[in-house]
């Protein structure tokens, strides 16, 4: 378990100028905020609203010795493992989903001790980010008690000072950098999300640096027109990256569904070729293009239109 450092994270925040300036930049420039050895928290969940444009930029830079945390991790952690960027995964679940079976690259690295997996419960991950976001060192909860998850992680309990009740004390997590993908942002970093928010608000507020990618960069007046949709204010965001289809091949609520055929092709290649397929995927889908827009364009307008239609069909009407 990493050291709890909420006061350090707070002091750092206090000491940082946070001007309301134009924070737009390319994904590559934004992801340069990540240093070797950092803890990167990836927003969204599983294959929903994953900040894929930012993940691809990170893959391109071939960082080393990273820790990645996520509510539920999909194959993006396999790509980071396969390129040698990742030492440690902190989450509650790794895979794409039941139809695709176990994650072979993840298994390869963790079973051989080449990467470690700190397995928390889903709520515990949420409370770790929430404690980090609240600026307190832990949160009490009634989950994870009695399990081997708690034993393996060295999770501590705490007695309620009023009743004596025993609770799990879930430690705060303050990631070095958070990647968050959203529907809309203005240039200052006021960001809005439609639909479910996963753990994104807490992930961002817990993190020391926050990079946001947005489907659309809008004028500040458009944010102010629907302020109840704003998930993060500008002073909690360090970089804003324009990224249409920025979660593709994963889904973005209301805009496009997940590209399940893309997952199928990935899973088949990994099954056939093992971990080498992960590296090949990165070479063919990340390195081969000048930027993420190139990868998206290669999917073709017909496929993207079909995914958009899938999303529209599921929206309230």
């Amino acid at each position: 378990m990493e050291q709890v450092a909420v006061l350090e994270a707070r002091a750092e925040l206090e000491a940082t100028e946070r001007p309301a300036v134009d924070k737009r930049m390319t994904a590559e420039a934004a992801v340069a905020l990540v240093r070797d050895g950092d803890h990167v928290a990836i927003g969204g969940t599983l294959y929903s609203r994953t900040p894929m444009a930012l993940v691809f930029a990170l893959l391109r830079q071939r960082r080393r010795h990273l820790t990645v945390s996520r509510p539920l991790a999909c194959y993006e952690v396999e790509l980071l493992l396969a390129t040698g960027a990742l030492d440690r995964i902190v989450t509650s679940w790794v895979g794409i989903g039941l139809p695709w079976g176990l994650a072979p690259i993840f298994r390869h690295f963790v079973e051989r001790g080449k990467a470690s997996y700190d397995e928390w419960s889903h709520l515990a991950m949420g409370l770790r980010y929430k404690a980090g976001a609240m600026g307190v060192p832990f949160l009490p909860t009634l989950t994870m008690l009695g399990s081997d998850l708690a034993r393996t992680l060295g999770l501590q309990t705490v007695a309620c000072p009023y009743t004596g009740q025993q609770l799990a004390a879930v430690p705060a997590l303050n990631p070095d950098v958070a990647f968050i993908h959203v529907h809309r942002a203005d240039m200052f970093g006021n960001v809005q999300v439609d639909g479910y928010r996963h753990m994104d608000a807490d992930v961002a507020r817990a993190a020391r640096k926050v990079i946001v990618s947005a489907e659309q960069i809008v004028r500040p007046e458009e944010i102010a027109a629907i302020p109840d949709q704003t998930m993060l204010p500008h002073f909690a965001v360090d970089a804003v990256v324009a990224a249409p289809y920025g979660a593709y091949p994963h889904e973005c609520y209301g805009l496009y569904g997940p590209d399940l055929a893309h997952f199928d092709a990935y899973a088949v290649s990994v099954k056939d070729q093992g971990p080498a397929a992960g590296l090949r995927y990165v070479e063919e889908n990340v390195d081969a293009y000048a930027d993420f827009a190139g990868f998206v364009a290669a999917a073709g307008t017909a496929r993207l239109a079909a995914l958009a239609a899938d999303a529209r069909e599921l929206m309230p009407r």
């Binding site: 079973e111 479910y196 928010r197």
Partner: protein, 277 residues
């Protein structure tokens, strides 16, 4: 009813355990399908909650969500919130049922979805808890549905990902798990519960045509048996038809033809079907 699969049998049996006007926190796959069947047959006011932050989930027949965090899971929902918030509703005590599958379950209802072997030397590293640990720790009554095989029903799980009654007796409460109890385990062979004193798994009912001996053969530990074992009612034609429609889409129709309008009519009794946009 001929040609009923083990999966269909489990889903229908489990669906009957869900009462109307209750709230069920369901995992994807069979727990979600069984919950949807219950809404169609006898529990139209059953509220389905999914860990992606979705309250009042419905199903679009033939387009079941694979993840609890995707748009298909959010279809027709009454409320979308965040993940942590959903689990805090559970911790507050709002969720009558938690409904889980299990790769490996032991005589005290402990579930392993983490590792075959040990964490230090894993033979197979499984995906992990996801929300299962929280669901079994925090929901009022937990239902487990899984296929009845010796490799799944083991005396002691390799790793307690999700705590049932731990080592039996009062050990669950002793560990600080102040909430929740394990209600039933539903399999393709039987209905089981947990004996109140020892908290050991106990045979309560048999699926049609199944014998006690068959259940014991497929269980990797010494199973307690209730003095009065009931024979479970076989699935009705209606239950099976609804299950298959939800899973596969409308019978006879192409996948897309009927979908947007019929889905509301199908899975939301009492709600006026919305027109196409």
């Amino acid at each position: 009813m001929s040609g009923v699969t083990a999966e269909e049998l489990m889903a229908v049996t489990a669906s009957r355990l869900l009462a109307d006007h209750k709230v069920v926190f369901a995992g994807v796959g069979m727990p979600l399908l069984a919950s949807a069947v219950a809404r169609r047959i006898h529990a139209p006011k059953l509220t389905i909650v999914l860990e992606g932050g979705i309250i009042g989930a419905c199903l679009l027949p033939g387009k079941l969500p694979i993840s609890t965090n995707e748009m298909r899971a959010a279809y027709g929902a009454q409320m979308l919130t965040d993940i942590t918030d959903i689990f805090l509703y559970a911790q507050r005590g709002y969720f009558d049922y938690g409904f889980l599958g299990a790769a490996q379950v032991d005589m005290y209802g402990n579930i392993n979805t983490s590792v075959i072997g040990t964490v230090e030397r894993p033979r197979v590293r499984l995906p992990g808890s996801g929300g299962a640990n929280d669901i079994i720790s925090l929901c009022n009554e937990v239902l487990i549905v899984t296929q009845h095989e010796p490799r799944r029903f083991v005396e002691k799980v390799d790793f307690i990902t999700s705590p049932g009654y731990l080592s039996g007796g009062n050990s669950r409460a002793g560990a600080g798990l102040a909430c929740g109890r394990l209600g039933a385990v539903v399999t393709d062979l039987a209905l089981l519960d947990f004996e109140p004193a020892t908290r050991r798994m106990r045979l309560r009912g048999l699926q049609p045509g199944v014998t006690v001996g068959q259940v014991r053969d497929q269980t990797g530990f010494d199973l307690l048996a209730d003095p009065e074992i009931e024979e479970l009612r076989p699935p009705s034609a209606e239950e099976i038809a609804i299950y298959r429609e939800l899973r596969d889409g409308s019978a006879g129709g192409t996948e897309d033809s009927a979908v947007p309008e019929s889905a509301h009519a199908a899975d939301q009794p009492g709600r006026v079907p919305a027109g196409p946009s």
